[in-house]
Amino acid sequence: MSLARLNIVDRPLPKGKSEVSLSAFAFLFSELVQYCLANVKSTGELESRLESVGVGVGLRLLELLCQRERASKRDIRLLDALKFVSTTLWKYLFGHQARDLEHSTTAPDEYMINDYDLFVNKYISLPKDYASLNCAAFVAGIVRGALDGAGFPSRVTAHFVPVQGQAKPKTVILVKFDASVMKREERLPS
């Protein structure tokens, strides 16, 4: 019996070593952006559509990575979940850990994952009408999906932040946790 005939849950999990060209992704992603563009009126709407596609990826990546790399261990603490995102998940997505993970000094429920040169922005050059568009909204969606799947519902947005002395702005993935997450976290021993 060929593998294809086996029920999907009976097939071995792929090892995850195969590669496709970055161009294949770039073309797919471009068309996704074009598809979303045709149905929206503003940059914000476009970003939220990209985000929702990202969520589907994030949810599945969480399961895949937990199975493959962590023997199904699940994080129950907020900081552990965030670290999982900014290290394990990031490495898987981008080949390196996020530049840094920062806790907001003004809002205790907000965290920032900072990085440069995410591949979703690699080929983009923005026309004036969409000058503020950040395709990392898709990555924000992946992060939200992964956190959501782990039981940490949040609102996640992507922003460009100019850095002094750097030609390229950094991308900040801002995570704002749901009030329920913050309450649960408070009850847990520190």
Partner: protein
């Protein structure tokens, strides 16, 4: 060429198909949309294919089908397809995909089998890319591993080959 983890590509594609199903609520409409999106991709992708492969002409259908299967699939999806079942006139052939990264992790829900052409994007890509080199083809899935067929088979039919015509009408 620069590469990336195939699973991110696979999962992104999957999430996109799901989004289309949500947006259109109609499997046939999703097939059409995937074909259309693929066509748009093909129209772009041909330029990178030509630039990177240094191929400077594609005039013969048989030769183009071979290049598509051997060079094109390798370049973008890091897999190859075999070209089989040519008809006598040399205007129809099949592409057999032994290993298609787009179908990893995928199982179609009951009710979608034989209806949802999950990888229909590929048909569009092929149609769009060949259109740009003046080969008008139709391309359809006739077998799909996701429909429990032993292989995935795309049937490619040459409809016409056109020379490039002057796009403007005289005196307009």
């Amino acid at each position: 060429m620069e590469t990336m983890n195939a699973e991110i590509f696979t999962l992104t594609y999957g999430s996109m198909v799901r989004q289309l199903l949500v947006d259109t609520e109609d499997v046939e409409e999703v097939n059409k949309q995937l074909d259309k999106m693929g066509y748009n991709i093909g129209v772009r992708l041909i330029d990178e294919f030509l630039a990177k492969s240094k191929i400077n002409k594609c005039v013969d259908f048989r030769d183009s089908a071979e290049k598509l299967a051997k060079v094109g699939f390798k370049m973008f999806l890091n897999t190859t397809a075999s070209v089989t079942s040519w008809n006598a006139e040399g205007t129809e052939c099949s592409l057999i995909l032994e290993d298609n990264p787009m179908t990893d992790f995928v199982e179609l829900p009951e009710g979608c089998s034989r209806k949802l052409r999950y990888c229909n994007l590929l048909c569009g890509v092929i149609r769009g890319a060949l259109r740009m080199v003046n080969l008008n083809v139709s391309c359809n899935f006739v077998q799909d591993v996701l429909w429990d067929d032993p292989v995935s088979e795309l049937r490619l039919k040459l409809i016409s080959t056109g020379a490039e015509n002057y796009p403007f009408k005289d005196d307009d």
